[in-house]
Symmetry: C2
């Protein structure tokens, strides 16, 4: 079993390895808190030492995990070409699917770090304004299957991180479900981007897998076309991690992280090229991961083509978007899974449900 | 002198009142740290008690202030009608200046909380991609004069804050300079909003003025048209605070916070209506504050009309946007000021300055 780190309910860092779980608290002060942040801030030498010492921890028969780290800034990229292409085709039919900037820079935006929640947290259907405007529970509640990188080593304000040093700042990887309310987002997002359509919840897996554990999963990719600007240039690569989307027990999509066009190193070089600093605990998500095939799409809006082609489930029901009670599990070894069940929208505390 | 709170260099909360500054550390545990967050989390009863006890603190002959609070999430709204109208006229000539959603909801997005810096911090000119694409130091570096609200009392995930209770969550107010690189932003912002054009620095004043001190500055406004949806309805109001923008010693704009269309209570009701939670330390900025007159505009892009009408300074020079060495001071009693000087862009560490 691949090495991974988590935080125990009640506090203390733990490690998973060789099918066993060890409580590391007491081995070093940075293992005693209620997040991985102090450990992640220590750097690669300490991380390597820790790896050799995990069996010195107290072995646990069972472990209940808490939120693994305190999220500093949460950035969500848009780095899958097939995903960006699919959304462009749906929303700008007849036009060039990719916007002019897409192949030149890893498009991204800041999300709400205060609403990042761990695997298993129930997700309440958000209410909000939709076009019209009208007000009510989202009717286009969706998932986004993403890979999330967690920053260990901070960088200085005003000092861009060169692309060839960018991976040095990354501690580990989680799975991310960037829940999205498409109808709320469509009405609000011009001109400043997604806000309430995304900010109600973002789920992450509870085990953080060190990037060092994924070294043998690096695969080369074809050259980017056009060649990126110098600050983004590196030999093209991606991780090779199979992922799947399960909806109410049925796998509705299978894809792979190798379908990401921009690498995490390029994302970090871009994020910091203006002098912005990294902090320990920054969560950098890839954006929805979709492959070229129909069943390789990482969101329901793509799988159901904005509702035009409902997804049929074995119980005879069909889904355009998520219904109350639906449970989604994103899964991919060695990252584990991130699960969430949809709860009905909040009730009577809001004055009025229809406006105009 | 209006009551305000800050944090001393080296730690400890301090208070300003009656022209004197008091070190409150030792009076309560929440005054002993290196941010206002623990104090702000205590709530209105404790805040009122603290106000009556500040002279029990140790009087300081001089105080050097640090960053006042740890920023949780930073949200930037777009709540000045004249500002949104001016940008619409510049960038979509011939079209309706306001986008269809603007009068129905307080448009906003998440900024980078890790690069919020205190008054006086030098701002390095950011480099990045512009249209073309080309790469280099921003040629359209700008300011944005904003009012910032700081959240004291957190709210629960999944529980919207009603508009009539929203102000209960706010501890205080700061001045904000949301530095902006217009050329970087113009190339990157479709479809997910501003990112590197804003994330290099956001400056705030070092004294936080409690909202309770601004009670007598609330003024009624004309009714919003159209009437907002029920969750945003309250009697229209704004604060009456005179503000000015000083560039290299010359005041180039004077405006007032009463020019904001959406109130902080409406912004909070909107931000949480989807179930998103507030945390202590959330910074909610108004967006650029511009009035109806030419010299009431809170950004250089408006004052110089995107460079077409340069601002003439007494030394015979003119400004379209900021030059290296320029110093900007935003000022408004009782909030104080927020100052920043522009440093030249970072040099040789970046490979190449022109791409293609």
């Amino acid at each position: 079993m691949t090495l991974a780190y988590g935080v125990l309910e009640g506090g203390g860092v733990c490690a998973r390895g060789d099918g066993r779980v060890f409580d590391l608290s007491g081995l070093a002060p940075c293992f005693d808190g209620d997040s991985l942040n102090a450990f992640m801030a220590r750097g690669p030498q300490f991380w390597a030492q820790a790896e050799g010492r995990i069996s010195e921890g107290r072995e646990l028969a069972a472990a209940r995990l808490a939120m693994p780290f305190e999220v500093a800034d949460y950035v969500d990229f848009y780095s899958s070409l097939h995903h960006a292409h699919n959304l462009g085709r749906m929303f700008r039919p007849g036009a060039e699917p990719l916007l002019p900037n897409w192949r030149h820079l890893p498009v991204g935006y800041h999300g709400r770090s205060g609403t990042v929640v761990p695997d298993g947290t129930a997700v309440r259907r958000p209410s909000g304004q939709r076009a019209g405007p009208s007000f009510g529970p989202s009717e286009k509640l969706d998932i986004e299957l993403e890979l999330g990188f967690v920053v260990g080593i901070a960088s200085e304000l005003g000092a861009p991180v060169p692309v060839e040093r960018a991976l040095d700042h990354v501690f580990g990887v989680v799975l991310v479900n960037d829940w999205s309310a498409r109808d709320i987002q469509a009405w609000e997002y011009q001109p400043l981007g997604p806000f309430l359509g995304k900010s109600f919840a973002t789920s992450i897996s509870r085990w953080v897998v060190p990037v060092s554990e994924l070294a043998d999963r690096r695969v080369p990719l074809a050259a980017q076309d056009p060649e990126p600007l110098p600050y983004l240039q590196e030999p093209p690569w991606a991780f090779d991690i199979d992922l799947e989307v399960e909806l109410n027990g049925t796998v509705v999509a299978r894809t792979n992280t190798r379908h990401l066009y921009w690498s995490i190193a390029q994302q970090i070089a871009h994020l910091t090229v203006n002098g912005a600093s990294l902090r320990t605990g920054d969560l950098l998500a890839s954006g929805t991961i979709s492959g070229p095939e129909r069943d390789e799409r990482g969101s329901l809006i793509e799988l159901s083509w904005n509702g035009e082609e409902p997804i049929e489930l074995p119980d005879g029901s069909a889904r355009r978007f998520l219904e109350d009670g639906d449970e989604v599990v994103l899964r991919g070894e060695p990252l584990g899974e991130v699960r969430g069940r949809i709860e009905a929208a909040a009730g009577g505390c809001l004055r009025g449900t229809v406006g105009g």
